[in-house]
């Protein structure tokens, strides 16, 4: 904790107001993380989720977005997914599962990292996994169907 605080202080010395706030204990290092966009994650359709997470509600299909996923997932609780794009200027990535009650799985903003995200997700039933990449203010998507034999969302 102490070490993290030091690092944060160093990084924000230029912004003296922030430095003062930290010094006064008003602002803890964890507040540097952007707030969770609750509306996007509670949205029941892809358009609402995209609007909330990426700021645009529709995406065009693109061959420049790659979604790597298994054809058949025996266990819906752990489905490995990789989304990648070689597109120039890719700034955000979101992952959606059409068949889940709330489609948005995760979203990432790249401020130095490349357009590559690999993670493991839960899927309730057989459906499309959608990878969405935001570049130049527009959304580009690719889909891959994953057959799920045992759903991963129930108890």
């Amino acid at each position: 904790m102490q070490a993290k605080r030091r690092v944060f202080l160093k990084g924000s010395l230029a912004a003296s107001a922030v430095g003062v706030a930290v010094g006064a204990g008003l602002l803890t290092p964890r507040t540097v993380l952007a707030a969770w966009p609750e509306a996007a994650y509670k949205a029941k359709d892809a358009a609402g989720a995209l609007k909330g997470a990426l700021g645009v509600d529709s995406a065009t299909d693109s061959a420049d977005v790659t979604v790597k996923a298994p054809d058949i997932a025996e266990n819906g609780a752990v489905v490995p997914i990789t989304i990648e794009s070689k597109m120039a200027g890719a700034e955000m990535i979101a992952m959606l599962v059409d068949g889940n009650e709330m489609p948005l799985v995760c979203d990432f903003t790249m401020t130095g990292a490349q357009a590559y995200i690999s993670t493991r997700i839960r899927m309730g039933k057989t459906s499309n996994v959608v990878g969405v990449v935001k570049a130049g203010g527009k959304l580009y998507q690719a889909k891959k169907e994953v057959k799920v034999t045992i759903g991963g969302c129930g108890g």
């Binding site: 997470a53 752990v78 489905v79 401020t111 130095g112 990292a113 690999s118 997700i121 839960r122 969302c153």
Partner: protein, 104 residues
């Protein structure tokens, strides 16, 4: 505050490092029923995650309960051997952890 929940492995290929993180976290959905009590286990999941290299933030993200238990996350970032990569997560109950690792 949770401790020792994050494992980071980073490897460099050319001038890009692939950073793989494995986080120990239950990612409770809020739907699961505790068989002993019959009550639903309250939701507790990581919803914010960020990564930095040498103190500069390179990736921030959000997650939902649709991310598997003990989340795995891999990303690629331009970096060289010896750079310090730091990963921080925070869950919906305010629990948080940070880990730092040198890129090998």
């Amino acid at each position: 505050m949770a401790t020792d929940t994050i494992k980071i492995r980073a490897s460099v290929a050319g001038d890009v490092a692939e950073v793989k993180c494995l986080i120990k976290h239950d990612m409770e959905t809020g739907q699961r029923v505790d068989k002993a009590t019959g009550n639903k286990v309250p939701a507790k999941f990581i919803n914010e995650i960020s990564a930095s290299v040498n103190g500069k933030e390179v990736l921030t993200g959000h997650m939902s309960v649709a991310v598997s238990k003990n989340p795995y996350l891999a990303f690629k970032v331009p970096a060289k051997s010896g750079d310090a990569v730091k990963v921080t997560w925070k869950d919906n109950t305010g629990d948080t952890d940070t880990a730092e690792e040198k890129i090998g």
